[in-house]
Amino acid sequence: MLPNIPFLKKGKREDQSKIFVASRRDFLKLGSLTAGGLILGVSFQCSGPKGETITFAPNVYISINSANEVTLVAHRSEMGTGIRTSLPQIVADELGADWSKIKIIQAEGDEEKYGNQNTDGSFSIRMFYEPMRKAGATARYMLIQAAASDWDLEASECDTQDGMVVHAGKGKKVNFGDLVGRLEGAPIPAPEEVKLRDFANYKLIGTDLPIYDLQDIVYGKAVFGADVDLPNMKIAVIKRTPVIGATLISYDDTKALAVPGVVQVVKIEGSGFPPGLDKALEGVAVIAENTWAAMKGREALEIEWNLGENQNYNSDQQQAEMLESTKGKGKVRRQRGDFDKASKAADKSLERTYEVPFYAHATIEPPVAIAHVKEDGSCEVWAPNQHPQWARGAVAAAIGTDVANVKVNVTLLGGGFGRKSKPDFVVEAALLSKAAKAPVRVQWTREDDLHFDFFHSHSAQRIKASLDASGNLTGWNHHTVFPAIGSTGSKEELHPSDGELGLGCVDFPFDVPNIRIESHESTGNTRVGWLRSVSNIHHAFAIHSMMDEIAEARGKDPLENAIELLGEDRDITFQSEMVDGEFGNYGEKIEDYPWNTGRMKNVIRTVAEKSNWSANKAAGKIMGFAAHKSFLTYVACVVTLEKGADGKNVISDVHYALDCGVAVNTDRIRSQFEGGAQFATSLATTSKITFDKGQVQQNNFDTYQILRMPASPKNIHVHIIESQIKPTGVGEPPVPPFIPALANAMYQMTGKRIYKLPFKV
C-alpha cells in the first residue's frame, strides 16, 4: 500500500468550506489564550470516496479579542516556504486586520480537527486559498454588521481596514476589539451573503509581507525540533542497522554503560525488509543525560549483525543494469500513434540515455524528535514534522495505544524537502521514551541522516526521437526506470507508480504525433522517498536535455522550438492515452487544473524577454534554457554561464518566469525560486549518494557535498506572471527546469552534452 502521499494518490479535496461558531473550550485548548470575543471556526467539506460530502470539524480558527488582537491557528508545517505567514496573510487581508496585531499559534496534528495537514506536494496554497478568503470575509461581514447597526448606517457602505470597521462617508471608525464582545456566539451569515473582496482591493495578498517568524529566527529565539526542553528529559543516539534489512545477532553494552552520563541501553526492533515508510529501523539506542554522553556511548557499543539480503547491494551495478534494461521493451504507460512506424520512416533519429544518482535530503537540521510516554500510556510528541497526523498514527501503532492518546506538537522545521514527512524518527522517540519511562529526545547525527535517509531514487532513462525529412518531430519514445517509492513498503512494487510517472514523464506536453512512454522493472534495496519535486528531477533533466538536442537537430532556437512544439493554445488531457493507468495531475481533476499550453508559452516568452535571450545569444553569451510544469505551476528558466577571472565557470545569472496563478506572498515566491535554483545546483553539480555492500558510502558534508556560497548562482531574477487564476504552489516547481537549463548552458560552453548527474561546472 502506498502511503498517503497527495500526488501519488487521489486525495480528499478540501474544496468547499463552511464557517461556524467554534466552541470556546476547543479554542482555548490550543494555547494559553485569554481571549474574550469572536471565535470562528472554518471547516472544509471534502468529497468522500463515493462523492458524498464529509464535513470536518474546524481546520482553522480565527479569534478576535477585546484587545484587538487577531489570533489564527496555522495548521500546516513551516519548513521554510513561508506557509505560516502566507495562509494567515490571506485571512487577514479579507478580514481587513492590522497585520502587526496578528498572532499565530501552531496546531497539533489532528485530522478530525484540522483536516489535511500533510505539508507536501506544494499544495498548501492551492488547497487553502479559497477557504482562507471565505473565513476572513465571514468575520469581516459580522464585524461590519455590528458596527453598522450601532451607527444606524448601511452595512454595504462600511468596510474594514487596519483592524477597524470604517464608514468613509461619515468619517466613522471603530476597533474590532470594541465590537467582538457582542459577537460571541452570534449566528454565522449564510455563505451567499458573504462577498469576497475584489482582487484589486487586496492590501496584503500580492505583497512582500515579511515572514511571521523573521525576528525570532534572527534573534536565535525560534523553536526547532531539538529546542524543546522537558524536565528530566534524556537524550538518545541510536546505532542503526548498517544495511537496510539487517538484524541484530547480539550486542555488548558494558563499555557504553561505563560512559559517564549514559543511563540505559535499549534495543529497537526493526521491521525487516522492506523497511516501510513509517517504521523504526533495527538498532541499539544509548540513552544518556546529555547528547555528548549518548554519542560517546554509541561509539562504545559492540554489536554483531546479520547483514541480511541487501549486504551485496551496489548502486553503480544496479544503475548499469537499469540502463541496460532500457534497451528492451518495457511496460507501456502512455501511447499515441505508432512510434515504431515513425522511427522506421524517420529521416533522422536521436537516441540518448540519462543517469541520475541517489540524493539525500540533508536538511541542516538532522531528524530529531522528543516524545514523552506518560504513566497512563498516553504520549506527547514535539517534532519538526511535515505530516503530524501520519506521525500520530505511526506512534500510536508502535507503542500500542489509541490514536486519541497521542498528541503531536509541530515545531518549526529546519528544512524538510520531503524527508520530515516520514515519521520514523518520531516513532523511535516514542519507543525509547516508553522504555526509559521519561521524556526522550532522539538526536540524529549528520552521519545518521545521510545513511538512513529515504533517498531520492537513482534512475536510468533512454529517449529516442524521430525527425522526418522536413525536420518535424514525428516520434518520441521515453524509457524510464528507477526504484519506486512503493518499493520501500512492498517488494511487489517493481515499476514506478502512475503518480511517479505523472511527475514530468507521461505529462510530456509536446505535440508529437507518435509517443510511447515505457517503464522498466527495478528492485528497492534501501529506503526510497520523495525529495523536493520528486521524479520531476530526473524526468525534466532527460526530457529538456533531449529537447535542446532536438532544437539543434531542427536548426531552431530552443525557445522557439519549445513554443512551436507546444502547438496551439489549448488544454491538454492525457487520460485517453494512458495505458492501464490513471493520469494523476497532482491529485486534481484535469478540468479544475488543466494543462494549458498557452500559459506555458507565455512563461517561455516572458523569460526570453526578461533574460534578453535573443540579443544576449547574438552577443555570444553562454545561455541554456528549459521549461517545465510541475505541481501545476508553469516555469521557464534561463541559466547564463560566464568564465570567471580564475578560468572557472560561474553561474552568473538565472532567470525564472513562472505562472502560479494568484501570487499570494511575492517575497516568498521569489525566495522559493532563489532557493530552488541553489538546491537544484547541488543536485546538478555536487551531490551523489552511492551504496556498496548495502551501505551508504558518504558520511558527512565532506563526502556528500551540497552547494556552498562561492559556487552558487550569482544573480537570480524571478519574474512572476500577474494572474487572478486560482493559485498553485511554488515550493517544488523551481527545481526541475533548472538542471537541464544548466546542462544545456554547459553544452554551449564546452560543446559536450551532459548525460549524467552530477557534472562539473
Binding site: V218, W292, K296, T363, G675, S712, P713
Partner: protein, 152 residues
C-alpha cells in the same frame, strides 16, 4: 567530572562536563541556550558558529577543556535588542527561509565584518563558504552583509 567556569554573553557560567564535550553541547544541553544549532558535528556546516573572543568558531568541534578564559558570544548575546547591524540587515532583506542555519550565518557574518568591515563580494563568498544553507538563501545573505557593512 571536571568543573569549568565559562564567560558566556558577558556572564559567568559554572558547568560540570567531560573534558572532551564540545562547546556546542555545553551551550545547548548544559546551559539550555538553544539558539546555537547542531548540523554536522565536524565543523563542515557552520550551524553551530559562536564567537570566541570575537572570532567565529565552530562550537561543535571545540572541546570545553580548550575554551579556557576565552569570552564566548552566542546569537542570544550578539546584541541587546536584535539591533546588531547584521541582524537588522537580515530583517531588512528577509533572509531566512527555514531559519535553522541562520544563527550560524549571522554569527559568522558579524565576525567577518568585524575583521573586514568592507568586504568585496568575493571576500564575502570566501568568508561565508563554511556556512551551509540547504534552503539556498546565499544571495540574500550576501546582500544583507553588504547592507550591514555600510552601517558598521
Amino acid at each position: 567530572m571536571p568543573k569549568y567556569t565559562l564567560t558566556v554573553n558577558g556572564g559567568n557560567k559554572e558547568v560540570e562536563a567531560m573534558e572532551d564535550m564540545p562547546l556546542l553541547w555545553v551551550i545547548r544541553d548544559l546551559l539550555g541556550m538553544k539558539g546555537t544549532k547542531f548540523g554536522c558535528g565536524q565543523a563542515l556546516c557552520g550551524a553551530c558558529t559562536v564567537h570566541l573572543d570575537g572570532v567565529a568558531i565552530r562550537s561543535c568541534s571545540l572541546p570545553i577543556s580548550e575554551v579556557g578564559d576565552g569570552k564566548i558570544t552566542t546569537i542570544e548575546g550578539l546584541s541587546a535588542d536584535g539591533d546588531h547591524p547584521v541582524q537588522k540587515a537580515w530583517v531588512q532583506h528577509i533572509v531566512p527561509q527555514c531559519g535553522y542555519c541562520q544563527s550560524g550565518q549571522i554569527m559568522n557574518a558579524a565576525s567577518l565584518l568585524s575583521s573586514n568591515p568592507t568586504p568585496s563580494e568575493e571576500e564575502i563568498e570566501q568568508g561565508m563558504a563554511g556556512n551551509l544553507c540547504r534552503c539556498g538563501t546565499y544571495n540574500r545573505i550576501k546582500e544583507a552583509i553588504m547592507t550591514a557593512s555600510t552601517s558598521i
